[in-house]
């Protein structure tokens, strides 16, 4: 079913070309494990996301890689070097903080120049680099402003420029878009992708926003309860999740019981077709009653209930739905078995 090369399947074997490699890393706070035996490899130039609900250990992972915290077990390799114990200022990675953490007493220019100055580069070199990176984030005209004179989106760009100016081996982003309003978030999302393509640096994004992770990432990892659930491309994880946790975290999911051993079959709501006519040959189908209709603009979400109280969700364009659909209507939910996917791991 998975045709990508071995590496794409979420292999955790570290390669020499890996920019970031975690090997069996654990971090506990008191008795609670924030992350447990986590192994992860991120290749050069990759846009990689750590996705999970709050408290899943994704921010802890980022802090460990940045050097703000030390693991109790395991090793952290950056560009092939073991830097588990290295302080933050000796690591070839830079972090974009969730609240941006711009220095309020410094201008945009001096904020961005902070890194190069710490590296004791020559003044002409500092000017060249800062000018260049401000061009990349499209803010050169605001260089003299103070952070509090900028909008949220502009502050975000400054934070990006400040972290990129040192040309790190990897850029770490901690929920960078969480503080922005939805429209701006969409703009900054495509900006992030453009900037990553332009500079070619590895991006490691931490987020709880599945749309963000799905649309931006080359590969992503789903973390749950401090453990790695699954690693793969967005499409692999969406279409072929290993567990119910991954299936439901990446999108709305119908989970149909299968067999006596508690097996589950995933059926994405957009794969369901609603019709008055029964399934044709090769199709599967269930008789269901409409319980709720939610108009969502481009699509309509239909919540249904099958005979044995099994809830189903179907999402389709208005045009594709049967006419006169209303609450209480009885009809057929049909799908192509090839569009469904049997989960390896059953519900916990």
């Amino acid at each position: 079913m998975l045709t990508e090369p071995a590496r794409e399947n979420g292999s955790i074997e570290a390669l020499p070309s890996d920019v970031i490699a975690l090997r069996n890393v654990s971090r506990r706070y008191g008795d609670a494990a924030a992350i447990e035996d986590l192994s992860l490899s991120i290749a050069a130039g990759e846009f990689f996301s750590l996705l999970g609900p709050s408290g899943c250990g994704k921010t802890t992972t980022l802090r460990l890689i940045a050097g703000f915290d030390r693991p109790q077990a395991g090793r952290i390799l950056l560009q092939g070097r073991d830097l588990t114990e290295a302080p933050p200022h000796r690591r070839p990675v830079n972090l974009v903080f969730q609240n941006y953490a711009l220095f309020p007493h410094l201008s945009v220019w001096d904020n961005v120049a902070f890194g190069p100055r710490s590296q004791r580069l020559t003044e002409p070199e500092i000017r060249r680099r800062v000018g260049e990176v401000l061009e990349v984030v499209r803010l050169p005209e605001l260089a003299r402003r103070r952070p509090h004179q900028l909008s949220g989106g502009q502050q975000q760009r400054v934070a990006l420029a400040r972290a990129l100016v040192n040309a790190p081996a990897a850029l770490l982003l901690d929920e960078p878009l969480a503080a922005l309003d939805p429209d701006l978030r969409r703009t900054m999302r495509s900006e992030l992708k453009r900037i990553q393509r332009e500079v070619g640096i590895t991006f490691l994004l931490v987020t709880h926003d599945r749309e963000e992770a799905l649309s931006l990432s080359d590969r992503l990892a789903v973390l749950h309860g401090g453990r790695l659930e699954q690693v793969g491309t967005p499409r692999q994880l969406y279409d072929h999740p290993r567990s119910a946790v991954v299936a439901t975290f990446l999108g709305a999911a119908n989970l149909l019981p299968e067999g006596a051993a508690g097996g589950l079959r995933l059926l994405r709501p957009e794969r369901l077709r609603l019709s008055a006519s029964p399934p044709t040959e090769g199709e599967r189908g269930l008789r269901a009653r409409v319980r709720e209709l939610a108009f969502q603009g481009a699509t309509v979400e239909v919540r249904l209930c099958c005979a044995d109280d099994l809830p189903l969700i179907a999402i389709d364009t208005s045009a594709a739905l049967p006419e006169n659909l209303r609450i209480g209507t009885e009809l057929w939910c049909r799908w192509d078995p090839a569009d469904s996917h049997l989960l390896e791991a059953s519900l916990p």
């Binding site: 940045a66 050097g67 703000f68 302080p87 933050p88 200022h89 830079n94 972090l95 903080f97 609240n99 953490a101 220095f103 309020p104 007493h105 902070f114 890194g115 710490s118 590296q119 103070r146 509090h148 400040r162 972290a163 040192n166």
Partner: protein, 259 residues
């Protein structure tokens, strides 16, 4: 009703500020007075004579500079120690930091005379002769709580991720502190220094118990008060006023750019 209310508020504010600043105005005014006799208490006429030789009164000038030096030294010592305490309490997770904070605030409620006699007891007990050292120790002691509490409040509004960001960008911890934390704490440090300075500069009670042979300005004035009040006192006071006002103005712009 509303207009009446705002009028009343205006009058009330004017009264409050008037009372607050009346002594200041009187001091500045009387530095230009030409008093008859030895007591500069009644307005007689305008003169610049007092300002021509501000340091004419040798004993007064010596006491003035003693107090000035003492206040600067005590303020710097208190802010240095208080700042370190504030950093420790605000940052590191110190065991029992709650009790330490309470112990820090407690001396503020302690009557000064109690502190003064206790200090005298202590110095006599450990056989430390009263003089410049005991004076400096005592003054920085009663300034310490103020300095620590002001700087702790300032640190509470400080985002600790800023220092992490500095380290992440390649600055070692000390450089991160110097380039980010210190400039952002500067207004608080200046405020604490100014407060400690004036606390020490006008202290009478503690000084009278711990100064030994040293004569600070308040001690001198309290003694001289019986014999004369020379306009040089107002001249020197006005000078001090100008210096602290200038420092306060210097501190203000950096405070505005904070948010």
């Amino acid at each position: 009703m509303n207009r009446l209310g705002s009028l009343a508020l205006g009058v009330w504010s004017a009264l409050a500020y008037g009372l607050l600043y009346a002594p200041v105005v009187v001091t500045v005014l009387f530095s230009f007075n030409a008093p008859r006799g030895r007591f500069n208490l009644v307005w007689q006429g305008f003169t610049l004579e007092n300002w021509r030789h501000p340091l004419r009164d040798a004993a007064l000038t010596e006491a003035f500079f003693t107090s000035l030096g003492l206040a600067v030294a005590a303020a710097l010592l208190a802010v240095l120690l208080g700042g370190l305490m504030a950093l420790a309490l605000g940052r590191a997770r110190v065991r029992g930091s709650r009790s330490i904070e309470l112990l820090l605030a407690l001396p503020l409620t302690n009557p000064e005379i109690v502190l003064a006699t206790a200090l005298l007891n202590l110095f006599v007990g450990i056989d430390l002769p009263r003089g410049p050292l005991t004076l400096l120790l005592s003054h920085s002691l009663f300034c310490l709580s103020y300095a620590a509490l002001i700087l702790k409040a300032r640190l509470a509004g400080f985002d600790p991720t800023l220092e992490l960001a500095a380290q992440d960008l390649g600055a070692p911890p000390l450089a991160a502190f110097r380039r980010v934390t210190l400039p952002l704490l500067a207004p608080g440090i200046l405020a604490a220094t100014l407060l400690c300075f004036s606390l020490s500069f006008d202290d009478y009670v503690v000084s009278s118990f711990t100064a030994g042979e040293i004569v600070t300005l308040p001690l001198y004035l309290a003694g001289a008060f019986q014999r004369e009040i020379s306009p040089q006192i107002q001249v020197l006071s006005t000078l001090v006023l100008l210096v602290s006002a200038a420092l306060l103005v210097l501190a203000t712009p950096s405070r505005q750019s904070r948010s």
